[in-house]
């Protein structure tokens, strides 16, 4: 494919040509209308002149009779640039004038009409004329005509103007189309080159943006955002596989060791039984880690979790709190729910419930002990609060535990990160990262804040509907009931 061929096939080039064609048709229409208007003005003027002349001739007939009229017509037809004259008796025989051949029916219709005629002296080629036919007393007919040569000349001028403007349009349009197409092609080629570079494996490369903010820039920016997300996902995937390798190998080794030890050292049926039970326990733990990892990976990839439903975050928080309430009681913690409803988001109820459950579970696990708090009097409450702030639903879970140092806050959202002091407790280190993944999947976020003392986790999700009316009294009643 030659460069020129590419140019002709470019969308921009074809569009420019189409616009050119439309403009040319438009110009043609304008010129035609103007020509038609001019011709009708000329016709009107000619007919007025004819009328005036006819009036003069009829006056002469009325005062001097037929002879005077005939003499006048004979005199007039000899003047240079004379009009056409024809006077006939009632049966159509010419009495005077300079017109020889005329269709008979012309004379029988008084009024104006264009005709073709031949001048009577030389014959010659036929010409266009506008004639007026008048009826005189005694059945005499008078025809006066003006040559339409002027009108023809105007038409010729117009036609030439039309042709010239069409040529002008064609040249200008073709040049414009070439220019636009070349410019667009150049940029598309640049983008294409970059895309091929990226496909070849350089995922850090981005498409060029000219900075003009035009549609190609917007397209390139959108594609760049997509590339960024893809790179992020690839990075996440690599991380997941690294972590899977790391964190599944340890328990897998333990699993294998247990089985091997049981075989090597033998023993009675009871010890075999114990070894097998341990094996099942270990594999169950492995399955849990595996499931959580898979869920995080799918959630981060924006995986297919079915059509989104309307989920009331307040309702989900209440239901999770109710699920964990007996555990809180065992730990001596008051689990308090403050919900200012309706707090509807669009998403997956299961995943949102699980995210909230993970956060509450963490708070009860790490935040209930009250150690690390300078104020020993502070009650080890865990407060779940949900409210609407602007276009977002914000759920916070605040505890009075040791909290997390600011330096560690971003890190604990990563997979498998377990801070010192929590390693001895049960857990996979995936709870927070799962919650963060679910939030991101719904277009929200998880942030960790200082509860002074303690930890406050803030889960933000975009609200499903525009801001509603202020909370109804019914919600306040529900708050009272839930604030145990």
């Amino acid at each position: 494919m030659t460069a020129l061929g590419k140019l002709f096939r470019a969308t921009a080039f074809r569009l420019a040509l189409a616009i050119l064609l439309l403009s040319a048709v438009g110009a043609g229409i304008v010129l035609t209308v103007i020509a038609w208007e001019v011709v009708s003005v000329v016709d009107r003027e000619i007919s007025q002149t004819i009328d005036a002349e006819a009036k003069g001739l009829m006056d002469a007939f009325n005062t001097g009779g037929l002879d005077t009229l005939r003499a006048l017509i004979e005199a007039r037809k000899r003047e240079p640039n004379a009009s056409l004259y024809l006077l006939t008796n009632p049966i159509g025989e010419p009495l005077a004038g300079n017109v020889q051949q005329i269709p008979a029916e012309v004379l029988s219709h008084p009024g104006f009409l264009p005709i073709e005629y031949r001048a009577n002296e030389r014959g010659g080629r036929s010409r266009q004329a506008l004639v007026g036919v008048y009826v005189l007393p005694y059945g005499l007919r008078l025809l006066i005509g003006h040559d339409l040569g002027d009108r023809g000349r105007i038409g010729a001028v117009m036609t030439r103007a039309l042709a010239l403007s069409l040529i002008f349009f064609a040249v200008l349009g073709a040049l414009g189309a070439l220019f636009v197409a070349r410019r667009v092609l150049q940029r598309i080629d640049d983008i294409n080159t970059s895309a091929h570079g990226i496909m070849a494996g350089d995922l850090t490369r981005r498409l060029p943006v000219s900075g003009s903010g035009d549609e190609l820039d917007r397209l390139a920016e959108g594609l760049n955002e997509m590339l960024g997300r893809i790179a992020e996902l690839m990075e996440g995937l690599r991380e997941v596989s690294d972590n899977i390798a790391h964190d599944l190998r340890t328990p897998l080794t333990r699993l294998r060791n247990h089985a091997e030890a049981a075989l090597a050292f033998g023993g009675d049926a009871a010890s075999y039984r114990l070894a097998l039970e341990k094996t099942i326990e270990e594999s169950d733990a492995l399955i849990k880690i595996f499931n959580a990892l898979l869920l995080i990976a799918r959630a981060e990839a924006g995986g297919d979790v079915g059509p989104p439903q309307l989920v009331d975050v307040g309702e989900a928080a209440r239901s999770v709190a109710e699920l964990y309430e007996p555990i809180a009681e065992e730990e001596g913690v008051a689990l308090i729910v403050r919900v200012q409803g309706p707090l509807t988001v669009r998403g997956n109820r299961e995943l949102i419930g699980q995210a909230i459950a993970n956060l509450v579970d963490n708070s009860l696990k790490y935040g209930a002990s009250n150690r690390g708090s300078a104020d020993a009097e502070a009650k080890p409450d865990v407060v779940i609060a949900a409210e609407r702030i602007g276009g977002s639903i914000v759920l916070t879970i605040a505890d009075r535990g040791p909290g997390i140092a600011p330096a560690d806050r971003a890190r604990v959202l990563d997979r498998f990160v377990r801070l010192e002091g929590s390693r001895s407790r049960p857990g996979s280190g995936l709870g927070l990262s799962l919650a963060a993944a679910v939030a991101r999947m719904h277009g929200g976020s998880v942030e960790l804040e200082d509860n002074e003392p303690g930890l406050r986790v803030r889960l933000t999700l975009p609200a499903a509907d525009p801001p509603a009316l202020p909370a109804a009294p019914a919600d306040l009643v529900m708050n009272d009931r839930n604030a145990r």
Partner: protein, 230 residues
């Protein structure tokens, strides 16, 4: 609960043979089919109490099989087994006409408990009992009253639903995940032993002041409510 006829449709022969053996040991009759078409024919011919259907099968996949059974007005309860454990996979499975869904890998005790719970549901369209009884414990679904030996026991709404579900399955093992699914409508793993704490609270209310305990823990499986539990 014994002597159920169970049809296992699973293309992995080892798994199918293991399941059949385990179900026989639990006192049931188990048949196997190793592909979708054979399974479909068997399910149509034999009057099985429960069919266990793998989601991915040669010749006819699991969801199509269940859909075809239902379109033939065959109402055999079906439990779908799948290696796909994603949130929407369960929904798809149930929408296709499955009655329960379990993702691989699973504990056999979980599968057994779910299969037994499914088989009991058999007579579809039969009116639901409004009063459930186990020994001297009575639960009235209409008035929401629970009494034991004519003594009224006050339960929280969730405790009521927990007891209701246990009593519907009286004499059979109910696993923690089954409780979480049916009482709380959640299908995820709550990490902590939340269900145990809820059950022990319920147990304190219905069993503590009486000499014959009804609610027992089945080790490695779940819970069971029945007359004369120890």
């Amino acid at each position: 609960m014994s002597d159920m006829r169970i049809l296992i449709i699973e293309d992995d022969r080892d798994t199918a043979a293991y399941l059949a053996k385990a179900f026989r040991e639990a006192g049931h009759v188990a048949d196997q089919a190793n592909d979708g078409l054979t399974g479909y024919d068997l399910a149509l011919e034999g009057a099985y109490d429960v069919a266990i259907v793998d989601r991915m099968l040669p010749k006819m996949d699991g969801l199509t099989l269940v859909g075809s059974l239902r379109s033939q007005n065959n109402e055999t309860p079906v439990l779908i087994l799948s290696a796909l454990g994603q949130v929407d996979d369960r929904v798809k499975g149930l929408r296709a006409g499955g009655d329960d869904y379990l993702s691989k890998p699973y504990a056999f005790s979980e599968l057994l408990a779910r299969v037994e719970a499914l088989a009991r549901r058999r007579p579809k369209g039969a009116p639901e009992e409004t009063v459930l009884r186990v020994a001297d414990l009575t639960l009235d679904r209409l008035s929401h009253k629970v009494t034991r030996r004519a003594e009224e026991i006050v339960l929280q709404p969730r405790e009521f639903r927990l007891l209701e579900y246990l009593m519907q399955n009286a004499g059979k093992v109910v696993t923690r995940t089954m409780l979480l699914e049916h009482v709380w409508d959640y299908h995820f793993d709550p990490q902590t032993n939340v269900i145990d704490v809820h059950v022990s609270r319920l147990r304190a209310k219905i069993d503590r002041d009486f000499d014959a305990p009804l609610l027992s823990t089945v080790r490695g499986a779940g819970y069971m409510i029945r007359d004369g539990a120890r």
